[in-house]
Amino acid sequence: MPTTDRKIQYRDALREAMQEEMRTDDRIFLMGEEVAEYNGAYKVSQGMLDEFGPRRIVDAPISETAFAGLGIGAAMYGLRPIIEFMSWSFCLVAADQIINNAPKMLYMSGGHFGCPIVFRGNNGAGGQLGSTHSWCVESLFSHVPGLKLAVPSTPREAKGLLKTAIREADPVFNLESERMLGMGSRGDKDFSRYLTDPSKPHAYWAPPTFEEDPDFCIPFGVANVIKEGADCTIVTAGRPVHFALEAAEELEKEGIDLEVIDVRTYRPLDIETIARSVRKTNYCVVVDQSWPFASVGSEVAAQVYERCFDDLDNTVARVHNADVPAPYNRALEQEMLPHARKIVEAVRQTTYNA
């Protein structure tokens, strides 16, 4: 895989994935609220109307059920829709279409109709939007068989996972992050010394260009050991990957060496990579930005126990979003998140360094 020194934001990486795929496959179209004339509420689709025209970049009314369903029907017909939810918080009005129809069509029809569709949009809290606008849907939706679910954590991941999603034959839920859209190819902080080749941080955070690699697709179900370490395994995905790296930095000072795993996709989940790591470190902390109960965090924990029962030197610690609706107040909202300080404390406790 070619390396690259690009400076590119998360939002641009998402756009690049869509553009590259749309240039080679006319069946792909993008539909959602304000994606065309407004150039995207968050500027993810900026310039795409100009490039692809109104046939393929399509503004939808505020009718999530109808346009999500339109996408599913179009996928059955043979097209390759990308349906943007301005935020995943707004997908709940379309829940029946996205979890009752899309993931079950192939099964229910006995193989007649697959559903190659991508639903994508912002996931997660952090912008003081209050409780109805701050959903993290990974736990809700990864519960459902028939779909695949990706949670990209950097511009590189954003491009590579979305390209895979668009080429997929199955429905994919791509959970992006409003809080990361402006995050550049270095991240907010410089974690380069943790990277495989610390002299080339961009090679790690930035995706290759089309010229460098027209098929830069990150396969689903292959976790990424983003930082190697000996003392404790952190399992996470999406924005909390950065919280985990912050925690790693903090704990380094105390001589605790974290291994940070970005699972990339919760469905399929690469439990092998996680288990291998825990067998090495003997400690595990799961960091999940959704609520604790019946969550991806409880799932990962349960599977780690099951596979590493005799290797674990302590229970698996779980760091989640607080089990409350999201408050507006900034301090409370920040405290609610599975942030670095909570991770640090969890690691200290788990590894008996508290």
Binding site: R55, T65, G69, G73, M76, Y77, Y107, F113, A169, P268
Partner: protein, 397 residues
């Protein structure tokens, strides 16, 4: 509810574009141009649905069929008349009362019956059941069991047809109970703003389970307004008269074909103006057709039917769609009683054979549990075989 006999008249009063008797005969009543062969085909198709459903009820009572089972008897003219106006590449999609829809679109009855028996030879390999018939080659996009859930999907099929620049149309069937489901109402709007080649076909049998349309649906007594609210063309027809239904759809399908985007100029690729709408809809463009019909059986196989009288049911049976077409054919000397009996015998035979086929087919093997969940499989999932209806080309084998 409008009685079947007055609705055709109403339909004509309603549609300002509707051909009058004084006009071009062919345009006015396309059914007058139909060959006797086509009319006999309509009759045979309706008879097949009726006989097939009789077998279905029998098999259900014998517990050979499980789950919910919704019988199409009484509504045959709706499926056959409306689809009579389609070409094969035109698509249909509907709700869970889908046996008649699938048969009318051309599914061999063997696959339909085998599906309800849960057999691997079923149209969906026994994974879908009565409410979920699918037939890809005949462009039948499924029966769907969440009320109204098929309407957004129909948008997508019609979208695909327009996107790929075909001249096909999509017919989306729904029950009157779906009129109050948000997904249907949103879809009406979206069909209009993208001007999709799509017709919403309301199979208005007057009840959703035990609820009379006017108890659940404001303006259920005057549905034209639902179309006008979204700028869709409106038409209604007597859904117990297959020729009247055909006439209505021949007209509406023609006015829907080649519906093209209005939100931008296809040639220049640019949006030029903010669109405006008329309550009469647009031609070519999408439509909402109210087909007045009736189901003779209960809602599903377990319905005490206390919400209606026997008299009411009988009243509708007196204008039964099959009898009416038989009378028309006999009175017009277009067919003999023998020919008609032969058609009915054929329908009975096909239905009996469908049961035999279903009975003698192998059960869905247990290891199909984990097939057809994903196309690109992982973990416990496996790739499934295509159903026989596809691999055997709808040959009934």
């Amino acid at each position: 509810m409008t009685t079947a006999t007055t609705s055709a008249k109403k339909a004509k009063e309603a549609d300002p574009d509707a051909p009058t008797d004084g006009g071009d005969v062919a345009k006015a009543r396309p059914s007058l141009q139909l060959s006797t062969e086509r009319k006999l085909k309509f009759l045979g198709d309706m008879m097949l649905i009726r006989r097939f459903e009789e077998r279905t009820m029998q098999a259900y009572q014998q517990a050979k069929i499980g789950g919910f089972c919704h019988i199409y008897i009484g509504q045959e003219a709706c499926a056959v008349g409306s689809m009579g106006a389609l070409v094969k590449e035109d698509a249909i999609i509907g709700a869970y009362r889908d046996h008649g829809l699938a048969l009318a679109k051309g599914m061999h009855p063997n696959y339909a019956m085998a599906e309800m028996f849960g057999k691997v030879t079923g149209c969906a390999k026994g994974k879908g059941g009565s409410m979920h018939f699918f037939d890809r080659d005949n462009h039948m996009y499924g029966g769907h069991a969440i009320v109204g859930g098929q309407c957004p999907l129909a948008l997508g099929i019609a979208w695909g047809m327009q996107y790929q620049n075909t001249d096909n149309v999509t017919l989306c069937y729904l029950g009157d109970g779906a009129l109050n489901q948000g997904g249907f109402l949103e879809a009406m709007n979206m069909a209009a703003i993208y001007n999709l080649p799509l017709i919403f076909v309301l199979e208005n049998n007057g009840y959703s389970m035990g609820t009379h349309i006017n108890r659940g649906t404001a303006m259920g007594n005057d549905l034209r307004h639902k179309a006008q609210a979204f700028g869709l063309r409106y038409a209604e027809c007597d859904g117990q008269d297959v020729l009247a239904t055909y006439d209505c759809f021949a007209d509406q399908v023609a006015k829907t074909r080649n519906a093209r985007p209005i939100n931008y100029n296809e040639k220049t690729g640019k949006r030029e103006d903010i669109p405006s709408y008329s309550e009469h809809g647009r031609t070519p463009g999408p439509a909402f057709v109210n087909v007045n019909t009736y189901r003779y059986q209960g809602h599903s196989m377990s319905d005490p039917q206390k919400y209606r009288t026997k008299d009411e049911v009988q009243g509708f049976q007196e204008v039964d769609c099959i009898n009416r077409l038989v009378n028309t054919l006999i009175e017009g000397r277009l067919a003999t009683q023998e020919q008609i009996d032969e058609l009915d015998n054929k329908a009975k035979e096909l239905s009996r054979d469908a049961v035999k086929f279903a009975e003698s087919s192998p059960d869905l093997p247990l290891d199909e549990m984990y097939t057809d969940v994903y196309v690109n499989t992982f973990g416990p999932y496996k790739t499934g075989e295509l159903p026989a209806i596809i691999t055997n080309g709808n040959s009934g084998e």
